[in-house]
């Protein structure tokens, strides 16, 4: 296995059992990986399984079969303590999910303090730094519902960064935002990318994906049907499904 690979995925399958007992096969054998510092954009039609793929990486969804190896450890093994793994894999959600009953400061410091990684004082300092980095230093004692959507998502990114993760997983981070707020969130993500962060990004922002990604995965019907550099996938797609998808989303 390649030494720089921070995360590798082998033959990942995910099947959901519906309420009426039928099964829905969402991921049908995905094999891929990410190098330290690499930025991978995951695109595809809705229902293609791209979000499920991302959510399997930190076992928000339990994979049905397949192996995921993170920094040399098989995290799908029953022996793995997934809570320890998740500390090092930050996740940013479409709907932010800030904790509304906690101030911005507490949103950022809850996890590191509870897990005894930092004292409250150390975590406060780190929170201050991270908020400055996402341009919200003055909001540290604010309540989440006093923030705009874009500000909430920037806080959510800072919260994910508070655990000093090795990888950040972005699950459509701008899809729930008003158009005028998308830019500020993308700017923060761009800055993170430039700083060398390893990132998986599920997105519909094709322009942004093109700009920051080292590699693009096109997922369709639960498999990676095309992959390559942004230029290859966006400008010279080979698969008919990719061409059709891109023609639909890029026309707008």
């Amino acid at each position: 296995m390649n030494e720089d690979m921070i995360l590798t995925v082998e033959d990942l399958h995910k099947t959901f059992t519906l309420q009426d007992g039928r099964t829905l096969s969402v991921l049908n054998g995905i094999t891929t990986g990410i190098r330290r510092g690499e930025k991978i954009a995951v695109i595809g039609p809705s229902g293609s399984g791209k979000s499920t793929f991302l959510r399997c990486l930190n076992r928000m969804e339990e994979p049905t079969s397949g192996t995921i190896t993170f920094k040399g450890e098989d995290i799908t093994s029953p022996k793995c303590d997934i809570n320890l793994v998740r500390r090092k894999m930050g996740m940013v959600f479409q709907h932010f999910y800030l904790f509304p009953h906690l101030t911005v400061r507490k949103n950022l410091t809850l996890a590191p303090v509870d897990q005894k990684i930092m004292t409250q004082e150390e975590a406060d300092v780190k929170a201050q730094e991270l908020l400055a980095r996402v341009g919200l230093a003055d909001k540290i004692d604010e309540w989440p519902d006093r923030l705009s959507g874009g500000q909430k998502q920037r806080v959510a990114i800072a919260r994910a960064m508070a655990m000093s993760p090795d990888v950040l997983l972005f699950d459509e981070p701008t899809s729930a935002l008003d158009p005028e707020m998308i830019g500020e969130v993308l700017d923060v993500m761009k800055e993170l990318a430039d700083s060398g962060m390893t990132m998986y990004l599920v997105t519909h922002e094709m322009g942004f994906a093109h700009k920051i990604a080292d590699r693009v995965l096109f997922i369709d019907k639960g498999i990676i049907s095309e992959e390559g550099t942004p230029d290859e996938v966006f400008d010279r797609p080979k698969q008919p499904r990719t061409i059709e998808f891109l023609s639909k989303v890029l026309r707008r």
Binding site: M60, R86, R87, G90, F93, Y97, F99, A111, A156, M163
Partner: protein
């Protein structure tokens, strides 16, 4: 009050301070009118004489005051037990549903809720007193009542909490877990504080329900408010004034508390939101 199979915590008609005063004066006037034969001089004099007998002579009103203290003591104690038991039961059930594999605990919690909600509180009280603690005669009966009412209330409070927990967006749990928090830490720091805030008004309603429910405590020999009224009856051989007074005292307390719940709801809905 016998077995209530459905969730009992419903909202009571809210009342402002004016309504409460009006309710008290009105209820008492209607009663006095009826009792005194619409203020015919003789009947009114008789009414006053009996009022003196029932409440003033030998400081008999103190029996009601002591009874009220007992009622409030039992209600407060039972509420505390009810909230603790209800919280534990609801967390077990939610955790089981949320993927933590605890089938035995879950079954126990379910059975507890079914049995305690499916049998009359009155019968439970009698069983606690005359069967389970039959040989513990030196134990203060009020503590037995608190236990009986509290454990009964816990079954109802469990359903209140469960509703509260399930009303929180599942994304909150995911976000907490994604940061490496354990399931229990996520519950404690993220889910429960939000759920608690949502159910505070319903917990107050549970308190109101308990306040009235403790009126059966007399059956195991506790001189609560209701029993105090009956005790006065026994002394004065007076059939109605003591119990009507007792009813009015309950009514005032319930109206005051309902008013508090209404204010609380308004305050909470003005507060922070997700």
């Amino acid at each position: 009050m016998s077995g209530r199979m459905t969730m009992r915590s419903k909202s009571y008609p809210g009342a402002g301070r004016g309504d409460i005063l009006l309710g008290f004066v009105g209820a008492f006037l209607v009663y006095a009118l009826w009792e005194s034969g619409f203020f015919t001089a003789d009947a009114w004099a008789d009414f006053n004489r009996r009022f003196y007998q029932n409440f003033v002579k030998d400081d008999r009103y103190m029996m009601l005051v002591d009874g009220l203290k007992s009622t409030l003591f039992m209600t407060a104690g039972a509420t505390v037990i009810g909230v603790i038991v209800g919280l534990i039961l609801s967390v077990i059930r939610v955790a089981h549903k949320g993927g933590l594999h605890i089938p035995v605990l879950n079954k126990l919690a379910e059975t507890y809720i079914t049995v305690l909600r499916g049998t009359p509180a009155m019968v439970q009280l009698l069983i606690w007193n005359f069967t389970i603690f039959a040989s513990a005669r030196d134990l203060n009966t009020q503590y037995i009542a608190i236990l009986a009412f509290g454990l009964n209330s816990g079954a109802y409070v469990a359903e209140i909490f469960r509703g509260g927990i399930e009303s929180i967006d599942p994304g909150q749990m995911e976000a907490a877990r994604s940061l490496g928090l354990t399931y229990w830490s996520s519950m404690k720091f993220v889910i429960l504080p939000q759920a608690l805030r949502n159910v505070v008004p319903m917990l107050f309603n549970e308190f109101i329900a308990l306040l009235k429910e403790t009126s059966i405590a007399g059956y195991i020999g506790i001189d609560d408010l209701t029993r105090a009224g009956q005790n006065i009856q026994a002394l004065t051989l007076e059939h109605s004034q003591p119990l009507v007074m007792v009813a009015i005292i309950y009514l005032i307390m319930v109206m005051l508390l309902s008013n508090l719940v209404k204010r609380l709801e308004q305050w909470l809905s003005r507060g922070r939101r997700g």
